[in-house]
């Protein structure tokens, strides 16, 4: 660049170096400040998260595993490092901030831009020098401000959450409402204890007593149970409950022990029958069913109930009962009997059911322990005899040996029978009780049914009667309404007819009066004079505007003229009723004349009294009577309003344009007129 003829050498400006170094220094300080601030925020966030994670982990939240914690920590750490490292401002941004904070008025930014030019001009040099001088005088500390720490509240919350997560006492865990206890105890599958616990969805702190009672119950149940494995398992459950109530284990350990108990329970599930509900109490449920006794009982029952079964309703239940008897399944038989009893409650009589019960009782009586014991004694004696014989004779013959063996076998069988007797007896008694219960239930149901059968009928009848009464009332009301309407119509018609009759009579009278008056000798003029005098007395004038008065007078004149043209009638009678009638006639004539626009047609002649209009007011109840509503949409549908305005505007704008072109409006006002029309144009 040539300046004053001298070619100035192109060398880097020293001032620019100063400016750049200051800006870079500030850039580093800004970066450090921002990085520190972000690091502080990151630490607070990490404290918050780790406190929450510790809390969740110690609470044994299922999804809070070690792997998740490590992964989250790594991810947050990586993101945090990137976030902290990415806060470095650019040189341009630093210059901009410098200009803003130090009121540099874009000095630094302009200097940056000017220095990037290939050949700086004098202006550029001067500007950079000016900027260098200015930037050297700036104190960066006030510019950077204090170390901007994150808000104190955030630090406090982070610290508290970390402490809470790490230092939460385990005692809190035992006293907290945790469903895990209920879940853990539910897996014991004991009939009483889990129900006690599972009845409430959460355990309360006050239910420690309940837990202790559960432990007691489990202990007592364990003592009743004969099975070694089950007793061991119940003891483990008991220990677990005690540890939890005493607070010796935390939630995670408790859950681990519960899951191991559950696994143990599953593996020992074969000990416990799947049909727990159908089984007798634990003391007897542990004994397997005796198939021989069951068969005998079932056979005997089915034989005894053959007759009764024929009476039972035919169907799958009966067939199932027969099949159960064949299988000797006493439990199924009992259930089916109950089912049959319920089904047969409506068809079987009490006597038939009682016969069933007697049959069962009879069989139950047949299985008499005394008979068995007699047999048992007899066999025992036989065996002893044989044994004495052997001792005496030094041996037994083959037949005696066979007899001995047979006796021993019978003895063993009888012993077994005797042993199984209580179970069989119990089964039978149970069956008996079930049948009795079925009968009682059936009787109860029958009584209830008979009552219900009547009650609904009565209720239905009552309801029907009530509805009929209501309907009658409604119909009567409607009828009355119709009758009233009809009556009203009739009365209105009657009144109308009466009014017509009255009017006709009056007209007739008037005609007669007119006819009579026409025969009198009084002159027409005298009559008119009298009529005018009468009108003046009564003060009756034709109503309406002055034009109507003029029309009325015209009408009357016309009538007079018409009357004058004909030979006409002569009015003569001066009687009061006739005069009043005449004045009425005149009034009506004037009224009819006044009401016509432009007056009556003179060519039509005098007013016919038979066509006098009468006004009559009718009293009625406001709001009653028919109403008609009609909406006229034609105008709106055809866009009458919009169209009208557009047409008007178009017309007047044309007129205004013509006026404007004709220069009749001052030039100074033209713009106003144009503007006006612009503003009022339809949009």
């Amino acid at each position: 660049m040539r300046l004053g003829g001298k070619q100035r050498p192109q060398k880097p400006l020293k001032a620019w170096t100063v400016v750049l170094s200051r800006i870079q220094k500030l850039q580093r300080r800004l970066w450090t400040r921002e990085a520190g601030r972000r690091l502080q925020l990151l630490l607070c966030l990490c404290a918050l998260l780790s406190g929450s994670a510790a809390l969740l982990y110690r609470n044994a939240t299922p999804w809070m595993t070690e792997a998740l914690i490590v992964g989250l920590t790594a991810a947050i750490g990586a993101i945090g490092v990137l976030w902290v490292a990415s806060c470095r401002p650019s040189v341009r941004e630093t210059a901009r901030l410098l200009d803003i904070f130090a009121a540099g008025q874009d000095r630094a930014l302009t200097a940056l831009e000017l220095q990037s030019a290939a050949t700086p001009s004098d202006w550029a040099r001067h500007q950079v020098q000016q900027t260098a001088k200015w930037i050297q005088d700036i104190e960066p500390k006030p510019l950077l401000g204090l170390w901007s720490a994150p808000p104190l509240s955030l630090v406090v919350i982070a610290a508290l959450s970390l402490i809470a997560g790490m230092m939460t006492p385990t005692q809190w865990l035992t006293n907290s409402k945790q469903k895990a206890y209920a879940i853990g105890l539910r897996c014991t599958a004991l009939p009483e204890a889990p129900r006690l616990v599972a009845a409430s969805t959460t355990l309360s702190i006050d239910e420690l007593d309940l837990l202790r009672r559960d432990a007691e119950l489990i202990r007592s149940i364990a003592s009743q149970v004969n099975e070694r494995e089950t007793r061991k398992w119940l003891k483990r459950v008991q220990h677990l409950i005690e540890d939890v109530t005493e607070g010796r284990v935390d939630k995670r350990t408790a859950l681990e022990r519960i899951s191991s108990l559950r696994n143990a329970k599953r593996s020992a599930d074969s000990i416990l029958s799947p049909q727990k509900a159908a089984m007798p109490p634990p003391a007897t449920a542990s004994k397997p069913p005796n198939t021989q006794t069951d068969k005998a009982i079932a056979k005997a029952l089915s034989a005894a109930m053959t007759k009764a079964l024929t009476i039972a309703p035919n169907g799958p239940a009966r067939r199932a009962l027969q099949q159960a008897a064949k299988r000797s399944d006493l439990g199924a038989m009992g259930r089916l009997l109950q089912k049959l009893a319920e089904r047969a409650q409506n068809t079987m009589t009490d006597k038939q059911l009682e016969r069933w019960i007697k049959v069962a009782e009879k069989y139950a009586g047949q299985i008499n322990p005394k008979t068995l014991s007699k047999k048992f004694d007899g066999l025992r004696k036989r065996i002893e005899r044989l044994q004495r014989k052997r001792a005496q004779q030094g041996g037994l013959s083959q037949s005696n040996v066979r007899r001995l063996r047979r006796s021993r076998r019978q003895l063993a069988q009888l012993q077994k029978k005797a042993g199984d007797l209580p179970a069989a007896k119990y089964q039978l008694q149970r069956l008996q009780r079930q049948a009795k219960r079925a009968v009682t239930q059936m009787r109860r149901n029958q009584r209830q049914a008979s009552r219900l059968n009547q009650a609904p009928r009565n209720a239905a009848e009552r309801e029907l009667r009530r509805q009929r009464r209501a309907q009658n009332r409604r119909s009567i009301g409607q009828q009355l309404k119709r009758a009233a309407q009809q009556l009203r119509r009739q009365s209105a018609a009657q009144r109308a007819r009466q009014a017509k009759r009255v009017a006709r009579d009056r007209m007739q009278q008037l005609r007669q009066a007119l006819a009579r008056s026409g025969r009198s000798q009084q002159s027409r003029r005298d009559f008119e004079r009298q009529a005018r005098a009468r009108r003046a007395q009564t003060g009756q004038r034709a109503k309406g505007p002055s034009s109507n008065n003029r029309r009325a007078r015209a009408g009357r004149k016309g009538a007079r003229t018409a009357r004058g043209s004909k030979s006409g009638f002569k009015l003569g009678s001066t009687s009061s009723d006739r005069s009043s009638r005449m004045s009425m006639l005149r009034r009506a004539a004037s009224r009819s004349a006044g009401s016509q626009a432009g007056g009556p047609d003179q060519s039509k002649g005098p007013v016919n009294p038979t066509k006098i209009a009468r006004t009559e007011s009718v009293a009625g109840v406001h709001g009653k009577g028919p109403t008609i509503k009609k909406v006229f949409t034609d105008a709106a549908r055809h866009g009458f309003a919009k169209k009208g305005w557009r047409v008007v505007y178009a017309d007047y704008s044309e007129v205004a344009e013509e006026m404007l072109d004709s220069e009749s409006i001052p030039i100074g006002k033209e713009s106003i007129v144009r503007r006006y029309f612009e503003l009022i144009r339809p949009r």
Binding site: G5, S90, L97, D106, T110, A111, Q127, T131, G668
Partner: protein, 335 residues
């Protein structure tokens, strides 16, 4: 071969400019009380070669300002009172029949009042559009064509036009295209109470304050050349452009209230005026503050309000203020 002129360094020139400006404002302030923004705007317009449109109620010192300016700058001054019957020839001049020395009758050109350095066109909106256009041609092209002859006007040529905002009846408002030729539109406010006290003390006194010339026309041209070289950063020019673009619907307020936006002349006026303002401030660079400070004066007469603005009672200044709030300084701010 001409000897190359040696220019003093920029610093010295800038220092000289500042001293000149200080002297000029000092001289003006001896006569004009207050009105600092108006004086500054007027000087910026004068030194950048632009023309000023003054608006204010009668008696606030519009004519006095121009007269004082002309006295302080030792420049010729003309005042034209525009009336509806003013003809274009009354402004630009006309040919008259003269008798030459030889006794021949010749037509000679009698220059009009426009042939001056500083022209005050009072109530320019009262003249007919024909007369207005004669003046505006002179303003735009710095020359006048009468008949077949073209006459150049002397530099610097500076026009200050005034409009009476009260009596708009029977006036011919300047159209948009002609308003655009004025660099600034300055509102001359009513003086404050303290200023009124000072005005009374100065004017209602036996002594008459006169202003001595402190600068010449050559100085004005020199300052103008210097100001045009002042560097303007890209982001500052970008701001000026964004502000003008905003008047064309780029901003919410503009979309709602403006019918037409400013022309590219507005950008030129903003940048040139900002350069001069920076020079006045002693800075060697233009800043966004300069742009924002001059935006109302540059844009308020260049935008057209729509019916919604008139119905809502919104003035152009209010629209411009809203634009200034909407448009940020730097469009590429990262932090």
């Amino acid at each position: 071969m001409e000897k190359p002129q040696s220019h003093p360094p920029i610093e010295d020139r800038l220092a000289w400019v500042q001293s000149q400006i200080d002297r000029l404002t000092g001289a003006i302030s001896e006569v004009i009380v207050g009105q600092k923004e108006v004086v500054e705007g007027t000087l910026i317009g004068l030194f950048t070669g632009g023309h000023i449109l003054l608006e204010g109620v009668p008696g606030v010192g519009k004519t006095l300002l121009v007269r004082t300016l002309s006295d302080a700058l030792d420049l010729s001054f003309s005042r034209v009172q525009f009336t509806p019957d003013l003809m274009p020839t009354d402004i630009v001049g006309t040919h008259i029949l003269n008798v030459s020395d030889e006794g021949e009758r010749v037509f000679s050109f009698r220059p009009g009042p426009v042939f001056t350095h500083i022209l005050l066109a009072d109530e320019v909106n009262r003249a007919t559009p024909k007369t207005q256009s004669a003046l505006l041609e002179a303003m735009a092209e710095q020359r006048v064509t009468v008949g077949t002859e073209t006459h150049s006007l002397q530099a610097p040529f500076f026009v200050m036009a005034t409009q009476n905002p009260l009596e708009m009846e029977g006036t011919y408002p300047l159209p948009e295209a002609q308003l655009d030729r004025f660099m600034f539109k300055l509102q001359v406010p009513f003086p404050s109470r303290a200023d009124l006290h000072t005005i009374v003390e100065r004017t209602v006194a036996p002594e008459v304050v006169s202003v001595q010339p402190v600068m010449t026309g050559a100085d004005i041209l020199e300052i103008r050349r210097l100001a045009l070289g002042c560097p303007c950063a890209h982001h500052v020019t970008d701001l000026a452009i964004r502000l003008v673009e905003a008047t064309h619907g780029g901003a919410t307020t503009a979309q709602k209230y403006l019918r037409a936006g400013a022309s590219p002349r507005a950008v030129q006026a903003l940048v040139v005026g900002s350069k001069m303002r920076a020079i006045f401030d002693g800075r060697a660079n233009v800043s966004t503050e300069d742009i924002r400070a001059l935006t109302p004066a540059v844009l308020s007469h260049r935008v057209l309000l729509n019916f919604d603005a008139e119905a809502d009672g919104v003035t152009p200044h209010q629209v411009i203020d809203a634009l200034l709030k909407e448009i940020p300084d730097d469009s590429k701010s990262t932090m």
